[in-house]
């Protein structure tokens, strides 16, 4: 785990991620400017840092209703504005960028932040960026695999010799600057199905898995498949961390949390995905088996610990700002995390901790 800067003796890591969505608050119908939204994300990262949260990440998205097209630049601002928190992307669409440029950016963020930068590479769920950035959608899968491999090679080797289909060969290329500790933690983003997790396992890279809704036991199959694939290829699953991601919202009571967050999720999904989130499914999010972590702080603690029992994962990433959530509500969530949720999770998940 050291290579990925994770110390299991301190307990499971808790992080916050944003996709950088730029949506109206459905209660007022008003949308802040892109300038304000980007500054809000930087401010949220600062609050997370002050609350002792382990990780903060920003996604890359090139479609309407997002402000995170240049996510690496937002991360550079966050690197400068924060002190201790680890920072990363969630995710970087490696398929439609040159891995050399991506690595240069993230190694630079690592230098600005004193060795706190990480990268989660993904394939994009929406595909408008292929045309925008000049790539052929027919190469969706091949582009990702080739560029992700090159990215990993650049991370491991200071002098790179490489050739492939989608960019000109590299001959004794020195990709600079190098990160503070020689390499960056690079994760593979996985969509939630075992089929996609297996690919991360075969590559022997850490996995960050998206969990939109459903029971934890179903996602356990994805995590088991990943670890089996690791073992089949001779990797040690005890050395490769797993992170999970999902909707998160804390309020005084579970009912209040559901009431507060639902319109943001439903209206936000309509705009960004073309279909709302059924209320019935969201209501089932209150069930202790659901991976949606919306509820009172105590209920969220119980759910996250239950998920940790199932998954044995090293990091959980919470999405609490989706769909135009007012900033004071985000602040309130960070307070709940810092004062109640984070201490309890650390206490019960650290090695030799209260649960063992």
């Amino acid at each position: 785990m050291e290579k990925y800067r994770i110390d299991p003796s301190k307990g499971m890591e808790f992080g916050i991620y944003t996709l950088g969505d730029h949506l109206a608050d459905p209660r007022t119908g008003e949308r802040i400017s892109a300038k304000d939204r980007i500054q809000q994300i930087v401010r949220l990262a600062q609050l997370a840092d002050q609350a002792g949260i382990d990780f903060f990440s920003v996604g890359e998205s090139h479609q309407p209703y997002f402000a995170s097209q240049a996510h690496a630049i937002i991360l550079a601002a966050i690197a400068q504005a924060t002190k201790k928190i680890k920072i990363g992307s969630s995710s970087t669409i490696i398929s439609t960028s040159d891995p050399v440029r991506v690595y240069e950016n993230f190694a630079t963020i690592d230098l600005i932040s004193n060795g706190r930068a990480e990268l989660i590479a993904g394939r994009a769920s929406r595909v408008g960026l292929f045309e925008l950035l000049g790539y052929d959608l027919h190469d969706y899968e091949a582009l990702f695999e080739e560029k992700f491999d090159l990215l990993l090679q650049i991370n491991e080797e200071e002098i790179v010799n490489w050739s492939g289909e989608f960019r000109r060969p590299l001959r004794n290329a020195e990709v600079l600057p190098r990160p503070v500790n020689g390499s960056l933690p690079i994760w593979r983003a996985v969509g939630g199905t075992p089929a996609s997790a297996i690919k991360a396992g075969y590559a022997g890279v850490p996995m960050t898995v998206a969990m939109l809704g459903g029971p934890a036991s179903v996602f356990k199959q994805t995590i088991d498949a990943y670890r089996e694939a690791l073992t089949a290829r001779g990797f040690d699953s005890a050395q490769l961390p797993v992170a999970t991601t999902g909707f998160f919202y804390a309020a005084e009571t579970t009912q209040e949390a559901l009431r507060d967050y639902y319109p943001h999720i439903n209206e936000g999904m309509k705009k960004t995905n073309g279909q709302g989130f059924p209320k019935q499914l969201f209501a089932q999010g209150a069930d202790h088996r659901s991976i949606i972590n919306v509820g009172s702080p105590q209920q969220i603690i119980e759910k996250i610990l239950y998920q940790h029992e199932q998954f044995g994962h090293q990091r959980y990433l919470a999405q609490l700002d989706f769909g135009g959530v007012p900033f004071e509500k985000m602040e309130r969530n960070i307070e709940f995390i810092g004062s109640e949720i984070l201490p309890a999770i650390k206490k019960y998940t650290k090695q030799g901790g209260a649960s063992e």
Partner: protein, 188 residues
């Protein structure tokens, strides 16, 4: 309330004729609803490649978006080679898996003979159910002998189409009522 009709073939005239007659009757009976009739012959719809429907440009984007906005869908289909035409199946393939959630779907089938009657029951309904539509249980089946000179000459077909329209609107109203009651009970 938005009503979208799909005439599911780019060749022939019978499906379009039957759906146009349904449309005339429906506009008379429910003048306040928003109506969009999509005759696939008038659009250049590309084959599905798995992307989110919002990412398709041009006609493909227009057709999928109209369907996604519908409260009631009337799907007209001929029978080709013992099944629905590929053009209509492609429209379903372009949409998300649960695209028809909270939508009512009514079916109108046109066919050369009565031998094709069960095709909709056994092949079209399972697709619509999989996509989570509320199905009007009975469909209107119109065959070659009911047509003459581009018109439907069997009066029974006119009456059956009227019943399909009524049943679809009643089902949509009932389902909306159930949904509203259920959502109110969640209190969030």
């Amino acid at each position: 309330m938005k009503i979208v009709g799909i005439s599911g073939s780019i060749v022939g005239s019978k499906t379009k004729t039957a759906l146009s007659l349904l449309w005339e009757e429906m506009v008379k009976a429910y003048p306040d609803a928003e109506h969009v009739l999509l005759d696939l012959a008038e659009y250049e719809v590309q084959f599905s490649d798995g992307r989110n429907y919002l990412d398709y440009p041009g006609d493909t984007g227009y057709v999928t978006e109209q369907i996604m906005q519908a409260d009631i869908l009337f799907i007209g289909t001929p029978i080709f080679q013992a099944s629905i035409p590929g053009t209509l199946k492609n429209v379903f393939d372009l949409l998300p898996t649960q695209a028809l959630r909270d939508k009512v779907a009514g079916i109108i089938v046109t066919a050369g003979s009565a031998k094709h009657f069960l095709v909709a029951e056994q092949q079209l309904k399972p697709i619509l159910s999989y996509m989570k539509a509320h199905l009007v249980p009975t469909y209107v089946f119109v065959e070659e002998k009911d047509f003459m000179n581009g018109k439907i000459i069997n009066d029974d077909v006119h009456l059956r189409l009227q019943r399909l329209i009524e049943d679809a609107f009643d089902l949509a109203e009932a389902q909306a009522g159930i949904r509203a009651k259920k959502e109110a009970a969640y209190d969030f």
